[in-house]
């Protein structure tokens, strides 16, 4: 299992090298080489594991010094956080780093003898995560090379700290691999904290006041989750003497009381990481960071760490208060975030809110904890990772090209920057349209929610998918609307790296969609068997056939229509403006006899929705739910 260790260690080792290379060109080359190596290693790990019959692999019994190294890492991290907190006059937050580290250190050094735990744990779920990180993550890093070039050309006010930026990106990649491949909760805790800190560092990249404020908000929320995780681990360590994640899960599945509190606390930690209400604001604030970090950390991978954790815990969820809490918070977040997204004009805010919303749906799936919902959740995660990463990069490139990421400014983008608009169209379609995977996942989630008599979740999904459709569709409409602007083709100033990454994403998106039945049979079903021990045929054959037919039709129909109408001899007329078009469709003659440009704007319901207020109320509500539920959980055990 050397490959797994390589995956974890290599990015961590590359990170300081990145910092030390001063030359952009050289750093770019090295980034490509390392990125390719990491992606290859992820594929190699997958291949090795598949060659071994796709069995669960537990390997590598670490020497004592490695455990100490982990502890040392934990302490170093706490020290860094503390220094930064005091440097920016937010000393209180450092408590959230010091206390859990102290607790973990105490457990390891003075606590009971813990059972020996293998370090590496490879199964379907961790392989899936490795592939997402190894492919999507690396693509984003490749994209970042070109993007950061353009970013600093446009934002001359910020100090150029690209070497630092890439260092943190690689640090993050290593930590993510470590997170999904580790078995021991102590290790998981370290990697968890590293991702939190990476996110903190990247959000604060520009060092503006806003960026710093948002970075610290992200920090304390994530550290709060980390604290809950640490408390859970220490409790587990003292009560059972075994801090392996899998043993905790089997205790939970067996319904042992001892597992209840750790699972609740870890689930709570996962909710913070997955930016669920009431912790959603950190993800909103994270959008001040340069786009690659938004794509990598705050959409495609890091927030998925929370989801990954919840999926792991899912078998222990059904029928428990924790499961109820998780599905309630998730469903609520799904619905509320989608409503708030309606009122946003800033493309990155829409992406952030839709990320929160989609994560909510995945969290809800995990909370229900049935094979069908996990099936749905896995596909949601897969599709979300690809299409969100595509969208973030595309919006970033659009911003570099047009100087704006306001959706209103994307009016008629299809005619001005066709390449970017088409990628954006594919990405948005992947987020919610039939026949992309989101749809079938929703189908499955709905069915499972009904089967489990989870009425609130059913209502959330029914209403939430309506609001989700609304904000995506109006965005798509903006892209294809006939332009009231120049309508001239412009240059999109894309670097080849960006084009490469976007193309791969789009191809991946469509491939996933076409191969969905195959992936389901070959991969996700075994994953569920591994997780739940039973086989459930989520996609019955009739549904499968239906799905394939639907996919073909929904792809083919617009294509055929396009070809057919292109050859249709049509007489073009002016569009209707009460007969006062000033010669074309872009101007009309006003009451004074002057020519006036028309300007079309979407509905945003800003008065009605008032996102800030809605966010505050939702936070209060969700916080109340969380506190009450956690009290119920803990009270039930004591």
């Amino acid at each position: 299992m050397g490959v797994a260790i390589f995956l974890v260690c290599f990015p961590l080792l590359v990170a300081p090298v990145m910092y030390l290379i001063p030359n952009d060109k050289v750093r770019g080359r090295v980034t490509y080489a390392c990125g390719a190596l990491i992606a290859a290693a992820a594929l190699c790990l997958t291949a090795c594991w598949a060659a071994g019959g796709m069995q669960v692999i537990e390997a590598y019994d670490p020497a004592a010094w490695v455990d100490h190294l982990i502890l040392a890492g934990e302490i170093v991290l706490a020290v860094i956080v503390t220094i930064l907190c005091f440097k920016y006059h937010r000393g209180v937050i450092s408590l959230l780093a010091i206390v859990p580290t102290a607790m973990i250190a105490f457990l390891e050094l003075r606590g009971p003898k813990l059972a020996e735990v293998n370090a590496i744990y490879v199964d379907h779920l961790s392989i899936l995560m490795c592939l997402i990180i190894g492919i999507i993550g690396v693509l984003i890093v490749v994209y970042a090379v070109g993007y950061m070039e353009g970013y600093h050309e446009h934002h001359t006010g910020f100090v150029n700290r690209k070497n630092y930026f890439f260092m943190v990106l690689f640090l993050f990649l290593g930590a993510m691999f470590g997170f999904v491949l580790s078995l021991s909760l102590l290790w998981i805790d370290l990697f968890w904290e590293i991702t939190s800190v990476c996110s903190f560092l990247l959000i604060g990249y520009t060092k503006t006041d806003e960026a710093i404020a948002n970075a610290f908000r992200a920090l304390w929320m994530n550290l709060l989750g980390g604290t809950a995780l640490a408390v859970g681990i220490v409790y587990l360590g003292y009560r059972t003497g075994n801090v392996a994640l899998q043993s905790l899960i089997s205790l939970g599945v067996a319904g042992r009381v001892i597992a209840v509190i750790p699972i609740a606390l870890i689930a709570f930690a996962a909710l913070t990481k997955a930016a669920q209400l009431p912790f959603s604001t950190w993800l909103m604030g994270a959008m001040v960071a340069p786009t690659p970090s938004s794509a990598l950390l705050h959409s495609a991978t890091m927030v998925k760490a929370g989801i990954y954790m919840l999926f792991r815990l899912a078998p222990a969820m059904p029928g428990t208060t924790t499961g109820m809490m998780v599905s309630l918070v998730g469903g609520f977040t799904f619905f509320m975030a989608s409503i708030m997204a309606i009122s946003q004009r800033d493309a990155k805010k829409v992406l952030a809110l839709s990320t929160i919303s989609n994560l909510g749906l995945m969290v809800a799936c995990a909370g229900v904890g049935r094979p069908e919902t996990i099936w749905a959740g896995i596909f949601l995660m897969l599709f979300h990772a690809v299409s969100k990463s595509l969208l973030f990069q595309d919006v970033g490139a659009t911003e570099n090209a047009t100087g704006s990421r306001n959706i209103e400014d994307m009016h008629g983008l299809m005619y001005r920057l066709p390449r970017l608009a088409i990628f954006m169209f594919v990405g948005i379609a992947g987020m919610y349209l039939a026949p992309f995977g989101m749809l079938i996942s929703k189908w499955s989630a709905l069915k499972a929610a009904v089967d489990n008599n989870n009425i609130i979740l059913v209502l959330f999904i029914a209403f939430g998918s309506a609001t989700t459709g609304f904000y995506w569709t109006k965005w798509m409409g903006k892209l294809i609307a006939f332009s009231h602007r120049s309508g001239q083709k412009e240059s999109d100033h894309m670097f080849p790296e960006e084009v490469l990454s976007l193309t791969v994403h789009a191809v991946l998106m469509i491939a996933l969609c076409v191969l969905l039945p195959l992936i389901s049979k070959a991969y996700v079903d075994p994953l569920l068997v591994e997780m739940f021990g039973t086989y459930t045929d989520v996609l019955s054959t009739s549904i499968l056939i239906m799905l394939v037919v639907t996919i073909c039709f929904v792809f083919a129909i617009p294509m055929l229509s396009m070809v057919y109408t292109r050859n249709l001899k049509m007489n073009m007329k002016l569009s209707y403006m009460s007969g006062i078009n000033a010669g074309n469709n872009k101007r009309f003659i006003d009451a004074m006899g002057d020519k006036k440009k028309i300007w079309l704007v979407n509905y945003y319901f800003e008065d009605f929705i008032q996102a800030d207020r809605m966010m505050r109320y939702s936070q209060i509500f969700a916080a109340a739910v969380l506190i009450i539920m956690i009290c119920v959980v803990i009270g039930g055990v004591l």
Partner: protein
């Protein structure tokens, strides 16, 4: 299998006829309600025939027509899924995809009336979608399957278990069939605030295509209504026809006796109704299960 083929063929061939006839009936009854003689029953067919005979026109470029044809074909496809007795939820998802193509048809022109109507169309979609999805959930809970053929093979009359879902569905039918007071994006009435709403930039053949698509949609929706009634008994089919006609008449009556509301009111009333009628029904079903 043979049943499926018959269902699909019947829908593809007969839905236009039935839809057109119902449209004619609608105009006739509306005229009578207003104290007029009204057009012949076959008037909608005359209209479509004329529209096909005219010069083919469009605005902007051919993509408008491409979106429109996609709307029609996806509409027919979703109906085929339904009438073949397949998964009802899948069919509804394809139906909403079809509706999105209607939105694209309108929004792509970038014309002011059409764009406003397109946005409102989108608001309408958001408004009615929960009720439709919940109706599917209701069928699933009552019969244990999402399959239309499975639902009609159950031995009870669905409406007895799903009265709330039925009320919510009939409520949103007013939106779907573009009837007052909820015809905020496009109305069949001659004069309205948005000229011809989403169809403003459709002339001649495009309008004919749209009209035919609308007929398919109405038949599909009424099929949905019938699903609340039909089981394997012969009388249930008779009952279904009666219920369909009653619902259709009710919609005409509402259309002729109410004024258009603003979209905000539409959204609020419909969601409240969906939550109350369908939500409470859902709760009860879950409790007695």
């Amino acid at each position: 299998m043979i049943e499926k083929i018959i269902g699909v063929a019947a829908y593809i061939l007969l839905a236009q006829l039935v839809g057109g006839l119902l449209d004619g009936l609608d105009r006739k009854i509306s005229a009578r309600m207003q104290g007029r003689v009204g057009p012949p029953l076959l008037q909608p067919f005359y209209d479509v025939r004329k529209l096909f005979a005219k010069q083919i026109v469009g605005v902007i470029n051919s993509s408008q027509a491409a979106m429109l044809y996609s709307y029609l074909l996806l509409m027919v496809f979703s109906g085929c899924i339904f009438f073949a007795g397949n998964d009802i939820l899948m069919s509804v998802f394809v139906l909403s995809t079809a509706s999105l193509f209607l939105y694209f048809t309108a929004v792509i022109t970038g014309s002011p009336y059409n764009s406003i109507a397109a946005s409102r169309e989108l608001i309408q979609i958001m408004t009615y979608e929960p009720a439709v999805i919940l109706a599917c959930v209701g069928f699933y809970m009552a019969s244990g399957t999402f399959n239309v053929s499975g639902i009609i093979h159950s031995d009870m009359v669905m409406i007895t278990r799903l009265p709330g879902f039925f009320i919510a569905f009939v409520f949103i039918l007013t939106i779907k069939m573009r009837k007052s007071p909820f015809d905020v994006s496009t109305s069949h009435h001659a004069h309205q605030e948005l000229v011809k709403g989403v169809t403003t930039e459709m002339g001649a053949r495009n309008l004919a295509i749209y009209t035919v698509a609308e007929w398919y949609e109405v038949v599909y929706l009424l099929g949905f209504v019938a699903l609340f009634v039909i089981n394997q008994q012969w009388w249930s089919f008779v009952l279904a026809v009666v219920v369909i006609l009653a619902v259709y008449f009710l919609e005409i009556l509402i259309d002729n006796s109410s004024a258009r509301v603003k979209y905000g009111a539409m959204l609020k009333w419909t969601w409240a109704m969906t939550l109350l009628a369908a939500g409470v029904n859902l709760l009860i079903l879950m409790l007695i299960r």
